[in-house]
């Protein structure tokens, strides 16, 4: 039994996980229309490669990546592209963004795709490229392209590969369901990962409130050397840095990356996506999403085609719209509300929560901070949330940074315990955004200053060059006049010389090229 360590702070919100675990994962079905946002995660949005009216097959690439941190998109089922237009996307802003709209034909006809069951025949670099082409992104947090995460500097040796199966946030059971039902695929995916980065050991961290999942994984991982570690249930043990500390007792330095201490962390859902991409040749076109909350008659886990509108999913789960007060994508701690049910599921949507007002009441109005210090006790990043709150209100960027605002993982533990109901995390998010904007503006103004100064220097140089050229020509003309034995040498008479210079300057302004003749 591997020893586990503890991280600072943490809370025990009620789990609410059993509701969605009563039935196995079910395929949600093919909705009549799929809405595929071109931007599904951090990085540059993909760019469409299909035309309106074109028929697409399941698995066909419909949008290509447009940069290093960018991924292609694939058709989740066969159908016809009916539009490329702005639709509301699942994003905290509630904004609209360009989406590909597919009218499905129900035939679910596959395009032949490339699969590599004998992946050991490929080099790690080829496998990373395969994952990039398959559009595999982190299925947990921000959806960072997996290929980018795997392309580490060759000098950095990854000692420990950590698969994050903690799923610490209340309500969400998508990874739990995967562990129970697809243990073998998870382990195979983890082995592909460890083939790519070649770590000394591979650990899968799972919170101990998922005994079935742990048992299933242990069974699947027998004789592979992969260690399944049960970690105590405490929110937010699933934070990347927190899990690493639990498993290795090492802290990722402030502002650093896990790779700095020889660790790489991958989400458990991502391992299944990797398995599907490599072994089955199936690009990332669907995911497991927990659909839960008391406004639903049958909360459960669905296998959902990317682009499925939430409305369709809700109806599959027996949605009672009248009792619902808000729709949340993600969990109750870190999720965000969406404006309507037409928003589609994207790569990062692990949970759709439809609670009743009673279940997740709107928070009461915030009161003044009473300096009780509870927030500092629970902060998993060992920050001083009440100080940060103070500085965020006063817009004191420097102090915020000095108090390590950027180490805040936005877990919401501080808001959760705050007896004054202060929406602390929102202040931190806003403050972070403000600081980032400030930095960007500063870079831009530095750039503008560079260009301005360059222009000034260039103008000065041009003026100087013009003068020297004029001077040289004048000298040449004088020499010429002298050689040809001119009557009066202008250089002997300072007044004459000045007049000649003025004349030359005038002529030079009008017609610089013809200056020699006129002098």
């Amino acid at each position: 039994m591997r020893t586990v360590f503890r991280f600072h702070g943490g809370i025990h919100p009620s789990e609410n996980k059993q509701q969605s675990l009563q039935t196995p994962i079910e395929f949600a079905g093919i909705p009549p229309e799929l809405v595929i946002p071109l931007s599904q995660h951090v990085g540059a949005p993909a760019s469409s490669v299909v035309a309106i009216g074109e028929r697409v097959l399941k698995g066909q690439m419909i949008a290509e990546s447009t940069g290093y941190i960018s991924l292609p998109l694939h058709a989740p089922t066969s159908g016809t592209i009916t539009a490329i237009e702005d639709r509301t996307i699942p994003h905290p802003s509630g904004y609209k963004a360009p989406c590909l709209i597919i009218a499905t034909d129900g035939e679910d006809e596959w395009q032949t795709t490339r699969c590599e069951p004998n992946y050991q025949d490929l080099t790690p670099a080829e496998l990373v490229q395969l994952l990039r082409d398959a559009g595999v992104a982190g299925m947990g947090g921000a959806g960072f392209p997996t290929a980018v995460k795997l392309s580490i500097n060759p000098d950095v040796h990854i000692e420990t590969l950590v698969i994050n199966g903690t799923e610490c946030e209340p309500y969400i059971t998508a990874d739990d369901a995967l562990m129970r039902e697809r243990g073998a695929q998870i382990i195979e995916g983890a082995r592909i990962l460890s083939y790519i980065i070649n770590p000394a050991r591979t650990l899968i961290g799972v919170e101990d409130n998922k005994p079935e999942g742990i048992a299933s994984l242990r069974y699947a991982a027998r004789d592979t050397g992969i260690d399944i570690v049960a970690v105590p249930t405490r929110y937010p043990s699933g934070g990347e840095k927190q899990l690493i500390e639990i498993l290795t007792n090492k802290q990722v330095p402030s502002g650093g990356l896990p790779a700095d201490i020889g660790v790489m962390c991958q989400n458990l859902g991502t391992t299944v996506a990797i398995h599907d991409a490599v072994i089955k040749g199936r690009p990332l076109i669907s995911r497991i999403t927990t659909v839960t909350g008391r406004s639903l008659d049958q909360p459960q886990n669905f296998e959902v085609l990317l682009g499925t509108p939430l409305r369709f999913l809700l109806s599959r789960a027996g949605y009672q719209g009248s009792t619902n007060n808000k729709l949340i994508i993600g969990g109750p701690m870190m999720g965000f509300t969406v404006p309507n049910a037409d928003v589609p599921v994207v790569k990062t949507c692990n949970c759709l929560l439809a609670p009743t007002e009673n279940e997740l009441p709107s928070p009461p109005p915030a009161k003044a901070c009473i300096r009780c210090g509870q927030c500092a006790e629970v902060c998993p990043a060992s920050l001083l949330p009440q100080q940060l709150f103070w500085f965020a209100q006063g817009n004191e960027h420097e102090k915020l940074e000095r108090h390590n605002l950027f180490d805040c993982i936005e877990c919401g533990s501080c808001s959760w315990v705050c007896p004054s109901h202060i929406p602390l995390v929102q202040y931190y998010r806003a403050a972070k955004a403000d600081i980032v904007l400030h930095r960007e503006n500063h870079l831009k103004s530095e750039h503008a200053r560079g260009r301005f100064e360059f222009r000034q220097a260039r103008i000065a140089r041009e003026v100087h060059e013009k003068q020297t050229r004029r001077e040289a020509r004048r000298q040449a003309a004088l020499a010429h006049n002298n050689d040809s034995g001119s009557i009066t040498s202008p250089s002997t008479d300072p007044v004459q010389a000045a007049i000649a210079r003025a004349k030359a300057r005038k002529a030079g302004q009008q017609k610089p090229r013809s200056e020699p003749e006129s002098s």
Binding site: H91, P363, A433
Partner: protein
Amino acid sequence: MLELISHYPLAAALLALVGMGAVFGALLGYADVRFRTEGDPIADQINNLLPQTQCGQCGYPGCRPYAEAIAGGEAINKCPPGGESTIADLADLLDVEALPLDQEHGEEKVKAVAYIREPECIGCTKCIQACPVDAILGAAKQMHTVIVSECTGCDLCVDPCPVDCIDMIPQAQGLHSWRWPLPDPVSSVAAIIATDSNRGQAA
């Protein structure tokens, strides 16, 4: 030596003081020459904080002159493109009170970029000469265009254009420019949802 000092204490003390003065004076003089800083360091620091739009709305012919003026005691609230955040930075640096933006010099606006209606451009190159950051591309009698990524939105190219074909277009607000807002202190309908109803019910 000691005897001399004890005999003429006043003269000795005077001599010692004058001597020390001379030595330190020489040291300071040397340091002044040896460690002289180029330019005006405070003006440089101030210039670093100004937005470098070079628009002249502050009443000075560019950011650098305004920076020098501030270093000389000018008010810090005259730069509309920088707005509140630049004023706050300046106040921080100079340890003075942050004043609200002086409305006389203009308001803080959404950043805009210049756009040349290309069919109307007669290729006079006047805008190129006006642009402080070389953000306009073109040549005599050729159609001109603005390099959007370099344009600081200073407006300076608009007036010189004889056919009025330059528009300042406010930059579109979209996903890339969205930021988390501060919570509304009155309504407190926060986006973060704590599982309050079952608070304290240990898992």
